[in-house]
């Protein structure tokens, strides 16, 4: 029987959900680390056009981008033990969360691969040439010149990826992992307050994602400080000019302003 809505339950549920925030965050952190490593490994052969490996990488990326994460979870959870059994290894005692992290890691890796590829290609070719001309090796040119710039370019995409990943971990409950969504599910069966539980859940997810978003935005600003065009002096001049304009703008005849712009 469904219970009548009671806002009090929302506040009652939030701390209970927060108690499983750790699980959610460790899935996110684990799969992110794995994803970054796998993504970089997958991106390199494609950036450097390594014959066979680039095919493999392409296949990997299109598989993990082209199938739903839910199906991937099931495939790995049920398929991997089966596959390893053939090879003579028994992993039936492995905790579920390992499968979850593995799946999300591989899933994130596909996006990371594309992110890295896009970012590295976006760094001007002239930067590499300059690095070579200075006498750097290919490795040095990549690590000292291309990669730092690529990171700054990739960060907005990375924010997207991280937020999506955080939200997608909610599907881990389907395998019975007690992360936040799993917890919310059990709270609803316990109390029958569905709406309150999911409202509380939404609030917690939002708060987590909002914090991440802000932090990453700050990082982005820091990493892109070299692209900031204006010196302090120019900034001051601009704000001064804006002030002047505000002072005079009311005197512009109505309708005449647009013309003034185009002239």
């Amino acid at each position: 029987m469904e219970q009548p809505f009671d806002i009090g339950y929302v506040f009652h549920f939030i701390p209970k959900l927060l108690s499983t925030l750790g699980t959610t965050l460790s899935i996110v952190a684990g799969s992110l680390l794995l994803g970054l490593a796998v993504g970089l490994l997958a991106a390199l052969p494609r950036l450097y056009r390594v014959p066979v490996l680039q095919r493999v990488s392409r296949l990997y990326v299109s598989f993990f981008r082209g199938t739903p994460i839910l199906i991937q979870l099931f495939l790995l959870y049920f398929g991997l033990p089966e596959l390893l059994k053939q090879a003579g290894a028994d992993i039936s005692k492995t905790p579920v969360i390992v499968f979850v992290i593995l799946t999300y890691g591989l899933h994130a890796g596909a996006s990371v691969c594309e992110m890295i590829r896009a970012a590295v290609t976006a760094v001007d070719r002239g930067q590499v040439e300059a690095a070579y001309a200075v006498g750097m090796t290919g490795y040095r040119a990549f690590t000292r010149i291309v990669f730092p710039q690529a990171i700054a370019i990739a960060l907005p995409v990375f924010s997207n990826l991280l937020l999506a990943l955080t939200k997608e971990t909610s599907l881990a409950f389907t395998l019975g992992v007690m992360e936040m969504t799993g917890k919310a599910q059990s709270l609803t069966t316990l109390t029958q307050h569905f709406l309150e539980a999911y409202l509380a859940l939404a609030l917690v997810y939002f708060a987590v994602c909002f914090t991440m978003e802000k932090l990453l935005l700050r990082a982005e600003r820091r990493l892109l400080k070299h692209e900031r065009q204006e010196s302090e002096a120019r900034k001051r001049f601009r704000s001064w000019k804006k002030l002047q304009w505000r002072r005079y703008s009311p005197e512009f005849p109505p309708g005449g302003r647009r013309q003034g712009y185009e002239a």
């Binding site: 001007d124 040439e129 300059a130 070579y132 750097m136 710039q149 700054a152 070299h226």
Partner: protein, 250 residues
């Protein structure tokens, strides 16, 4: 001393360099002139292997490289002996002016940081940017960026500096400051190979002028000879468009 022998280069089926030979003595300033597409820039980029030549031989000082069998090490040796100033400046965008100049010293030549910093500051002062040490490229004008580029090249203390149309991307107003810096360092006896379209500057700064067209050296000689009494018809034709009675000066 720099010596090129029979340098060839093709892009696909189009042959851009058809066996270029060239000798540059120590301390000499060589200017390469020629119409667009004549292969000047490609030749310059072949010297430090930003383009891989199809064949020929490159010799810089004690380093001799056969272009057909150049190893990675050979290429690095060539690059250590050369420095390049690019048309598009190509400063490292995420590094300040000072860091740009220091980068090669610290990372490639393993000069201790303090020493590298002192030398870099000195060079930036020399190109007139002592006040812009901590500015990022995006905060500098084109002329200032190019001067940082020149300081970066000087810092490496190379046997030769290659200038690839150093003023072609600049506002006419900013060309002067860059040419002035190049003139200044030319007087110090640094070996340079310059590809440029600034005829007045070329005449003024060069010890030796090379005129290229369609992948071959058409004519070479002292600037006075080339500019006042070119022998080849193609050279005459080219120079006629550029120098209306020496009005063109910076």
């Amino acid at each position: 001393m720099i010596q090129l022998k029979g340098i060839t280069k093709s892009f696909g089926r189009q042959q851009v360099l058809k066996g270029i030979g060239l000798t540059v003595e120590k301390g000499e300033v060589v200017v390469i002139l020629g119409p667009s597409g004549s292969g000047k820039t490609t030749l310059l980029r072949c010297i430090n292997y930003l383009e891989k030549p199809g064949g020929g031989e490159i010799r810089i000082g004690d380093c001799r490289v056969d272009c057909r069998a150049a190893s990675k090490k050979d290429i690095r040796e060539l690059r250590k002996r050369t420095a390049m100033v690019f048309q598009q400046y190509n400063l490292f965008r995420h590094k300040t002016a000072l860091e740009n100049v220091m980068e090669g010293l610290v990372v490639v030549q393993k000069v201790p940081k303090e020493e590298a910093r002192a030398r870099s500051v000195q060079l930036l002062e020399k190109v007139g940017l002592g006040a812009k040490l901590d500015a990022y490229p995006s905060q500098l004008s084109g002329g200032q960026q190019q001067r940082v580029g020149i300081a970066r090249a000087l810092a490496l203390n190379p046997e030769v500096i290659l200038f690839d149309e150093p003023t072609s991307a600049l506002d006419p107003e900013l060309v002067g400051e860059v040419l002035a810096v190049i003139r200044k360092i030319a007087k110090e006896g640094i070996t340079m190979i310059i590809v440029t379209h600034e005829m007045g500057f070329a005449q003024d700064v060069a010890n030796h002028v090379i005129f290229m067209d369609e992948g071959v050296v058409v004519e070479e000689g002292r600037p006075n000879e080339i500019f006042t009494s070119p022998k080849e018809e193609r050279t005459k034709q080219f120079l006629k468009r550029f120098t209306p009675e020496g009005v063109y000066s910076i």
